[in-house]
């Protein structure tokens, strides 16, 4: 679906543990449901009615989008934009541009190992939901890491869908103690030993993505990384969100070529 710019109104702002919020919006009815066909990993640019001092919209992955035009995002207060959004009350208005970028493809043959770290959850949560809706909940497995148990959110839904989830927390308060990549490493070793076809889809903090990339390359499994870069426009014009890549050109763009990139392509040291 081509992107458009439309107005949306906050329906519900739910504070979760760990400083996270889910914001659910309804699109301006005149606009239909511009996000209902969104692919997990695609994103939107969101701007509130907060004047010009914060000039640019903020990029968010979509957590969920319904055919009725409603959609939701997961936020954690990180700077002034997310602080302003977290304070939005039902009826509050935002301007949205999207859907933008290219997302993950649905599971085909290989089991998809969905690796989520912190606020990188939404694309993988939506991927799991879509797989469940397609009757393929068994085609995905989630690896979800955070600092502590409070840093893991929206887990009930994953469990209701019957998706297998491995949790990891740095303090051991839920699931494995340590980084989620340790659990992923074990899973990749087991797959290699049994000859099982797997692929890795990951979104989270850059250190996690770097580790996932290294593992995916070492195990020679298809590894897709959903990246985040500072962007002003989100649709390929400002050229601010360059991603260093291998190939005929040194850069691609997070917003229009990504945000999902093959780990082999990304030029990281």
């Amino acid at each position: 679906m081509p992107p458009s710019q439309f107005g949306a109104q906050l329906v519900d702002n739910q504070a979760l543990s760990g400083g996270y919020f889910t914001l659910r919006f309804a699109c301006d009815p005149a606009c239909g449901a511009p996000l209902s066909g969104i692919e997990p990993g695609q994103f939107i640019m969101v701007r509130g009615e907060w004047g010009r001092e914060m000039l640019n919209p903020r990029a968010f992955s979509v957590l969920d989008a319904q055919p009725d035009g409603s959609f939701s995002i997961l936020i954690k207060i990180y700077g002034r934009g997310t602080a302003a959004l977290s304070a939005l009350r039902p009826g509050g208005l935002v301007t949205v541009t999207g859907p933008l970028g290219r997302g993950f493809s649905a599971p085909a043959g290989a089991t998809q190992l969905l690796v989520a770290g912190g606020v990188g959850l939404p694309p993988l949560h939506l991927q799991a939901k879509r797989a469940t809706e397609a009757g393929r909940a068994g085609g995905v497995e989630m690896f979800y890491g955070g600092r502590d148990a409070d840093d893991l959110v929206l887990t009930e839904a994953l469990e209701d869908w019957g998706v297998k989830v491995t949790y990891a927390t740095e303090d051991g308060s839920r699931g494995h103690r340590g980084f989620v990549t340790v659990a992923l490493q074990e899973r990749l070793r087991a797959a290699k030993a049994s000859g099982e076809a797997v692929e890795v889809l990951a979104c989270g903090p850059t250190p996690m993505l770097r580790a996932v990339r290294t593992m995916g390359l070492a195990h020679e499994v298809r590894t897709l990384l959903c990246l985040e870069e500072e962007m002003a426009c989100g649709f390929g014009v400002c050229l601010g969100c360059a991603v260093p890549v291998r190939g005929p050109k040194p850069y691609k763009y997070c917003c229009s070529d990504g945000p999902v990139f093959d780990a082999r392509e990304v030029r990281w040291s």
């Binding site: 500072e230 014009v237 050229l239 601010g240 360059a242």
Partner: protein, 333 residues
């Protein structure tokens, strides 16, 4: 202090937004600015691009350029700093792949161009001349980008150097040349005069203001090249001052004004300062059809203020009434 000019509101339908810039007739003043509109196609999702008066492309160099390392942008108060590095497809690919789309639009097509040295500027002007019959209306010569090295700064800051470069490019092409000026020059009116005398049909300004942001947590600059170019509403007062200075000193030089325009009132300020057409840049990022909204706001504001046409107000800024003279006296209380 001066009282508002007494005006009688008129109907928005009675407002004539047509304007002329260096012999070009435009249906209204609103264009989009270089580097903030790519090569136009992306905007077709969001607006009827042909409704704009014109557009200026991403800056084109003779050969493709790959751009700067990350990070390239950061937001600042009412603005943003960029250091993209003049990434572009190069003149040849521009003519073959990007120009056909632009030529089909019913807008004035300005191709922004630059070179890494004087010969490259001339070569680029020559190469782009092939587009004269294929949709290019104006070459906008960028002597002002802060993001290239190799002595590029002198083209934009030393009047004699700018004069020589402009003259060579004017002689190299049949297309009219508008020179885009930098605010990072000591005497901007002298720069405008120098390029106009060299044959530029007009000037556009301002480009971005050299700027810096610092991340105190990492102790790193917020763009990888240390300094970048500031744009957005934060630069508007500086831009207005420079437009006004040029218009006051050289009223015969056509000016395309830009710098943080986000509203119809901003647009009217630039016209009153002395610009006869305008470009919208950074606002396109958050609001792709910003130029069209601003056009509509400009019409409504002109109607409210009883201004029926653009030439009536270009460069209309007067001085405040003088105060009565002061002489020391005994206290009167």
């Amino acid at each position: 202090m001066s009282a508002p000019v007494r005006t009688t509101p008129i109907s928005p339908d009675a407002v004539d937004l047509t304007t002329t810039f260096a012999g070009l007739s435009l249906p209204h003043p609103m264009m989009t600015a270089s580097g903030c509109f790519a090569y136009g196609q992306q905007f077709a999702h969001f607006m009827d691009v042909s409704q704009l008066a014109g557009l200026s492309t991403k800056g084109i160099s003779p050969a493709p350029r790959m751009g700067n390392p990350l990070p390239r942008i950061c937001e600042t108060a009412s603005g943003m700093i960029n250091s993209i590095g003049l990434e572009n497809v190069g003149a040849e690919a521009f003519l073959a792949e990007k120009l056909p789309y632009l030529a089909d639009l019913d807008v004035s097509v300005w191709v922004n161009f630059f070179g890494e040295d004087a010969d490259a500027y001339v070569r680029c002007a020559e190469m782009l001349s092939a587009g004269a019959e294929r949709g290019i209306d104006v070459l906008e010569m960028n002597i002002s980008c802060p993001n290239i090295k190799k002595g590029g700064i002198e083209f934009g800051t030393v009047p004699e150097v700018a004069h020589r470069l402009t003259k060579r490019c004017v002689e190299a092409t049949s297309l009219p040349i508008v020179v885009k000026l930098t605010p990072n020059a000591a005497d901007v009116p002298a720069m405008a005069q120098a390029v106009h005398e060299a044959g530029a049909v007009g000037v556009s300004l301002i480009n971005t203001i050299t700027a810096m942001g610092i991340d105190v947590r990492t102790r790193k600059p917020r763009v990888a090249t240390m300094y970048g170019g500031l744009s957005g509403p934060a630069v508007k007062p500086v831009a207005l001052r420079m437009v006004h200075q040029i218009h006051t000193k050289h009223p015969d030089i056509p000016i395309c004004g830009m710098g943080g325009i986000v509203s119809g009132e901003d647009a009217l300020e630039f016209l009153m300062a002395g610009a006869s057409c305008l470009q919208v840049g950074t606002a396109n990022f958050s609001e792709p059809p910003a130029g069209l909204r601003i056009r509509d706001e400009l019409r409504a504001l002109m109607a409210e203020l009883g201004i029926s046409n653009i030439p009536e107000i270009v460069g209309c800024i007067g001085r405040h009434d003088p105060e009565p003279p002061y002489a020391p006296e005994e206290s009167w209380t």
